[in-house]
């Protein structure tokens, strides 16, 4: 029953388009090799994150620091800023360095996840919760489940490769799901909650203008592009609605390889607009999206615009059902990719 339910869910998430490999064995081997390289790059990037975090912490040394961590970091207040930093960053340094040399050790990956998590808690407790490195915490968590050397000896080469690729896929799905959470809450607020307390939500044409004006005034920014959007309510509303669509349906993307490349571009545009309109840099989140959607080997390019549009969540359903009325034959929904059989 559980198997049939999971099949139904997968079918629902995949939509109408089917992506079929021409040569599954050769493609899995090639995907596995690419995934190994991507995991190496990701491991190196964690060391760079360590350097970025420690630079920030060192810049605070000698200054008074008031800690107010979220509940999960309750122990930091008692331990004090100096000892907490020393404790976290010595483990972080060890795990980040060792993971480059031995990316398949599960204990090192657990250590790395805890270090990245606690480093983020410490930085968040200095002012406000830092969202930028949230994706890297969840990626570190997902990579704990990569098979290690012992697992490799226990199972066949095929199972090992499948396990490795499935964990990479899980990492993508988990990391990208934070967008869906954010999008989901915008929709819930719009329909069920904030309408009753007179707040503006994405359903109101003035929401984006109010949002940008509040953000700019609070922080004392001078952003001409934002001022233009504030003056043009409808433009702002269109941008906010697109952002809600993009965020909410992000969790559908790991199930639809044809949308990896387009979604990578959409999310890049989304983060760039955040920077231009709100001075909100998401460098680390941007890089994680490039690595996961572009770097991991699950991406399949659509062969034409029709394939792209029918694969889009909701928009594809509307297009194929209402506008196109299924005039395209069924084979248009099947996309073959990869090595041809000899």
């Amino acid at each position: 029953m559980i198997l049939s339910l999971s099949k139904k869910i997968r079918k629902f998430m995949q939509g109408e388009t089917r992506v079929i490999s021409n040569n599954p064995v050769a493609n899995m081997r090639s995907r596995f090799d690419s995934a190994k390289v991507a995991i190496k790059v990701i491991s190196c990037f964690y060391f760079w994150l360590f350097l970025d975090d420690i630079t920030h912490i060192i810049s605070l040394s000698g200054k008074p620091v008031a800690l107010s961590p979220p509940p999960i970091g309750f122990w930091m207040t008692d331990m004090g800023f100096t000892y907490t930093s020393l404790f976290i960053y010595s483990i972080y340094f060890f795990c980040a360095t060792a993971c480059i040399i031995r990316p398949d050790s599960r204990w090192l990956r657990v250590g790395l996840f805890l270090s990245v998590l606690n480093s983020n808690i410490l930085k968040s407790s200095l002012s406000t919760i830092s969202y930028d490195k949230n994706g890297w915490i969840w990626l570190a968590f997902a990579l704990i489940f990569l098979p290690n050397n012992k697992d490799k000896q226990k199972c066949s080469e095929k199972v090992y490769q499948y396990w490795y690729l499935t964990t990479c896929w899980f990492a993508t799905a988990l990391t990208i799901s934070v967008y869906t959470m954010s999008g989901m809450w915008k929709i819930l607020s719009g329909f069920f909650y904030d309408g009753f307390v007179n707040n503006y939500t994405f359903l109101s044409s003035k929401a984006m203008s109010y949002h940008l004006a509040s953000h700019i005034f609070r922080n004392g920014y001078n952003l001409p592009a934002a001022e233009f959007v504030i003056e043009n309510h409808f433009l702002g509303w269109a941008m906010l609605s697109c952002a809600v669509y993009l965020q909410f349906f992000s969790f559908w993307i790991p199930f639809r390889p044809l949308l990896f490349a387009p979604w990578l571009l959409f999310l890049a545009a989304f983060h760039t607009l955040n920077l231009v309109l709100m001075n909100l840099p998401f460098n680390h989140q941007g890089f994680i999206i490039i690595l996961l959607l572009g770097g991991l080997p699950f991406l399949v390019y659509p062969k034409n615009f029709y394939q792209l549009i029918v694969t889009m969540p909701l928009a594809g359903k509307i297009y194929s059902g209402v506008i196109d009325k299924k005039e395209h034959k069924a084979h248009s929904y099947v996309v073959r990719y990869g090595f041809k059989r000899p």
Binding site: I72, T128, I137, V178, Y179, S182, N199, Y210, R218, G220
Partner: protein
Amino acid sequence: MPFKSLYPYFSWRLFDSFPPQNTDFAIELISSEGHTFPQPLDFIQDEVPRNEKLKKSYSLPYRTIQRFGQARLGQDPESFQLIKKTFEINFLSRYNSGEYQLILRTWEPLEAIKTGRYLNFNVLEKYKFNNRK
């Protein structure tokens, strides 16, 4: 709503609704080095754009001021003193000494961005600082 966010899997409510009026804390500089300003200077609007280091710290000054205000209204004098000291040493380092005030203000975003005016405000307390010590 049962909760706003669940750290670290917390991206539930990020810019999901926008109130037509905002109420928050602000800091205004009254004097520095013995010179009293003709009008109190809003720390975020007047001081941050002139200070390259603060400009690069994004929303940190605003967040710190909010923590300052909440600690002032809270029951923990020790934590309030620490945040006050953090603010003075880290954000008022350009000045040797002076006076500033903590205010609680209510503002309408579209009006405030055009004119800089608040709908209303209350001065909560005035503080003297001396960074030469």
